[in-house]
Amino acid sequence: MTANASPSQIAERAQQRRNRILWLFPMLFFIWQGAYFSSFAAPHTPLRTVELVSLGSHLFLGVVLLFLLATGGGWRYGKAVRALLDDESTRVHRAQAYTAGFWALALCAVALYAAAPFIQLETGEIAHILLSVAVAVPALRFVMLERRADRG
C-alpha cells in the first residue's frame, strides 16, 4: 500500500479484503461443523483440552466475524476510511444480510424443533448449529450483495 493513497483507495482495498474474509471464513465454519459432529459423536466428560480449544476457537471466530459484519471493519485505519467502509450502500446491504440471517435462523430453529422428537441432540450441538447459521448466512449474503454492487 502506498503511503500517499487516498482514503477512498485504502477503503476500496479494505473492502475487497473484507469480502474475501467474510466469504472464506464462513466456509471454514461449515467445514468445522462437520469436524465437530464427527469427533463429538461420543463426547468426553469432562471435555479434553483439545476439544475445549476447538470449541473456544469456533466461538472466537464466530464473534470476530459478527463484529466484522456489524462494524464494517477497517479497525486499523482512521475515521475517514472507516466511514467509507460503512457507507450508505454498505449499511443497506448489512440490513438485508441481517434479514436473511434472521429467516435462516428461524427456519433452522423450526427444523430443529420438528426433528427433536426423532433425533437426540445435545444442547451443545444445537448451539453449534444455531451459531454457525447465525454467522455464516448473513456473512455470505453480505458478500454476495457487496460483490454484485461492485460489479454493477
Binding site: 477512498s8 477503503a11 467509507l84 467502509l85 450508505e88 450502500s89 454498505t90 454492487a149
Partner: protein
C-alpha cells in the same frame, strides 16, 4: 426495498468529466455506492441525493425521477 428510480447520474457525471471514483470521493462514499446508484440497484437517501446534485452542479430532480 422494491422501489425503482430513474436516474441520469451517469450522464451527468460523465458530462462533468468525473469518474465514479472522483464523484465518490467528492460526496464521501465508495465507488461501489455510486455504481449501484447509477445502475438503479440502490435508491440513495435524501442526504446523498443532495450531495450528488451539489457535486455535479445540478438539482436532485434533474438527477432522479420517478418512473411513469
Amino acid at each position: 426495498m422494491g422501489e425503482t428510480l430513474l436516474t441520469t447520474l451517469k450522464a451527468a457525471r460523465t458530462a462533468a468529466g468525473l469518474t465514479q471514483a472522483d464523484l465518490a470521493e467528492k460526496v464521501g462514499v465508495t465507488r461501489k455506492t455510486i455504481n449501484t446508484v447509477e445502475n438503479g440497484v440502490f435508491v440513495p437517501s435524501t442526504v446523498l441525493s443532495l450531495k450528488l446534485a451539489r457535486a455535479l452542479g445540478t438539482s436532485v430532480e434533474a438527477l432522479f425521477q420517478l418512473p411513469g
